[in-house]
């Protein structure tokens, strides 16, 4: 479904990614784990067109998307829930969700997707009329994911959904991510919380200083010594 080859991205003189290759198959949850500054967010942003790729190819459903603008990529069915929750703080939760469906005009279908998103996130339903900035961190994250679902994505890109959240809320959110996947949405999940990410993912990539250091089955990687030492904090 998504095939990234030799992706390189620089911010000015600083090279953030040198030659990242990864692949996501339809129906999978693939996770990209790594420490701070490894280039996880940059990879995700390059895929969704928020930053320009210097070199390499990005193919989505057989079509090259490396040169497309972010808004064109959204129309192809790829939706990105940005890091740090990236919600619209002064709008109501409802308005946030409506903006998620910004590219769509099929009103009755939008209503269905809204209903589905609200079923997945009952907390979001309770907060519909509230200004999004007043929500708790976990609730804001839920809004961000629900909003991304409103575009009815075939591929959902999630950037650190566990960032700064209490462990219990992380549990809830990851359970919902798995639900979303089981309903047929392919997911590329960027995470620092390797423990949680490896639990729900099918396959995983480990990113270190802008390059893929390891890849493989998520369960296998979780057992490997290097990953256990570096990312799971077990000796």
């Amino acid at each position: 479904m998504l095939e990234v080859r030799d992706l390189s991205v620089s911010y000015g003189a600083i090279r953030a990614l040198h030659g990242v290759s990864l692949r996501v198959e339809r129906g999978e949850i693939v996770t990209l784990i790594g420490s701070n500054g490894a280039g996880k967010t940059t990879t995700l942003r390059a895929i969704s067109g928020l930053v320009k790729a210097q070199a390499g190819t990005i193919a989505y459903e057989g079509q090259s998307i490396a040169k497309l603008a972010a808004h064109e990529i959204v129309k192809l069915g790829m939706s990105h829930a940005p890091e740090g929750r990236g919600i619209f703080p002064l709008m109501t939760v409802e308005e946030n969700l409506e903006l998620g469906a910004y590219i769509r005009h099929d009103h009755s279908e939008i209503a269905k997707d809204r209903e589905m998103a609200l079923t997945l996130f009952p907390r979001v339903r309770e907060r519909l009329k509230q200004v999004a900035g007043t929500l708790s961190g976990g609730e804001q994250q839920m809004v961000a994911i629900a909003r991304a679902l409103m575009a009815r994505p075939k591929l959902l890109l999630l950037d650190e959904p566990s960032l700064g959240l209490a462990p219990q809320i992380v549990q809830t959110i990851f359970k919902i991510i798995r639900d979303i996947n089981q309903r047929g949405t392919t997911i590329l999940l960027v995470e620092q919380n390797a423990h949680m990410a490896l639990q729900i993912a099918h396959r995983a990539y480990v990113l270190e200083t802008g390059a893929i250091a390891m890849e493989g089955d998520a369960k296998e990687l979780a057992k490997s010594d290097e990953v256990r030492k570096a990312y799971l904090g077990v000796a």
């Binding site: 919600i87 619209f88 002064l90 709008m91 308005e95 909003r147």
Partner: protein, 366 residues
């Protein structure tokens, strides 16, 4: 409470053509303009009529600036530049047009044609300003915050200096006819362009006030309005939702500049001579203050703030030289009492419905 989406679906369910919804606001615009035009002479003298004209011009200016500074959150400080472009082009079309077509300027027998010339000049001025808005809008794609403010400030100053360098005004009809294009740029340098007849009466000014407000409010409540507001709140998230940043930022600048040009063209037809200082930052600041005071993103806020800020110096005239001190003091007090402007991003009619909790700061509580 109705959400924006419900409003939109009521206004345009699946883009169906609804003549009532489409035409009624424009009819209301004309009626309002007629009302102001015919009622105000009964209530106030000529001096206050001129204040009403000035008020209308600044409402148009403030509401149009709100499209950029309020809706999209780009900080433009060069709005007076767009106004001056519209003002000079508009005045030029009327003045030199009258000379060419009639041989003299301001002849009462030529008033009807003169008014048509004013409207032509208004369109020409607004379109030129919109073109300039396009050029100024482009850097907004790469610059934000303070840096964009500096660029737009620079734009206004460039217009001011260019206007100071314009050649002398030509008042001889034969000379204008001989070389119309060269004479058209005779804007009389630093002295200012004099002699444009005051064709912009209360009807025309308030007609454009109403039109500008209707268009701005419709923009705000349409789906593209949502796109503007999303850019203002979080550019990355807006792009991730599929909002075309380039298109909307440039569109905001072009529209704001267009109506800024309208405001300028109207102003130069109220008997006020346009001069290069009209493009300077003092004027730009005046308009920014109106927008901020009214609330960034609030159309009705800009209208009310423009009214207050035009009226205040007039009402305080008895205090003579102290009035500007008091004026500044009132501004400070207002910003202390209502730091988000009069209405924030809301409209005056939203205020009674207090069911929306406002967050304390950007991002709210974690």
């Amino acid at each position: 409470m109705k959400t924006l989406a419900q409003h939109i679906s009521e206004i345009s369910p699946a883009r169906a053509f609804r003549p009532v919804a489409v035409f009624v606001p424009w009819v209301v615009c004309v009626l309002l303009a007629l009302a102001v035009h015919f009622v105000s002479p009964l209530l106030v003298n000529e001096y206050w009529e001129s204040v009403l004209q000035r008020m209308g011009v600044f409402i148009v200016a403030a509401v149009s600036l709100n499209i950029v500074n309020g809706f999209t959150g780009q900080f433009s400080m060069g709005h007076a530049g767009f106004m001056a472009i519209g003002g000079y082009i508009g005045a030029g079309v009327t003045y030199y047009g009258s000379l060419i077509l009639h041989g003299s300027v301001g002849d009462p027998n030529f008033a009807v044609q003169g008014t048509l010339l004013m409207l032509a000049g208004l369109v020409a001025g607004a379109c030129t300003a919109a073109g300039a808005g396009y050029l100024v809008g482009l850097p907004s794609l790469r610059l934000r915050g303070d840096y964009l403010a500096i660029v737009t400030l620079g734009f206004g100053e460039i217009i001011r200096v260019l206007l100071e360098l314009t050649p002398k005004q030509v008042s001889d009809a034969a000379a204008v006819k001989a070389s119309p294009i060269v004479s058209f740029f005779g804007f009389n340098g630093a002295t200012g362009f004099a002699g444009t007849p005051a064709y912009a009466n209360l009807f025309w000014i308030w007609l454009f006030v109403a039109i500008t407000c209707v268009i701005a409010y419709r923009m705000k409540t349409s789906s593209s309005g949502r796109a503007f507001l999303s850019i203002r709140e979080d550019e990355i998230a807006a792009r991730a939702m599929g909002v075309d940043l380039t298109k909307y930022k440039v569109r905001a600048f072009v529209l704001a500049a267009f109506f800024g040009g309208v405001a300028g063209a109207l102003y130069s037809h109220t008997g006020v001579n346009p001069s290069p200082t009209d493009a300077g930052f003092q004027r730009s600041f005046d308009i920014i203050i109106m927008v901020v005071l009214g609330g960034l993103g609030s159309v009705s806020g800009s209208v009310l703030a423009a009214m207050i800020l035009v009226l205040m110096p007039e009402l305080l005239r008895d205090l003579q030289q102290y009035r500007l001190v008091l004026y500044a003091l009132l501004l400070i007090v207002m910003m202390l009492v209502r730091p988000k402007g009069l209405f924030g991003v809301k409209e005056i009619w939203d205020l009674s419905r207090g069911d929306r909790k406002q967050p304390v700061g950007k991002g709210g509580t974690p």
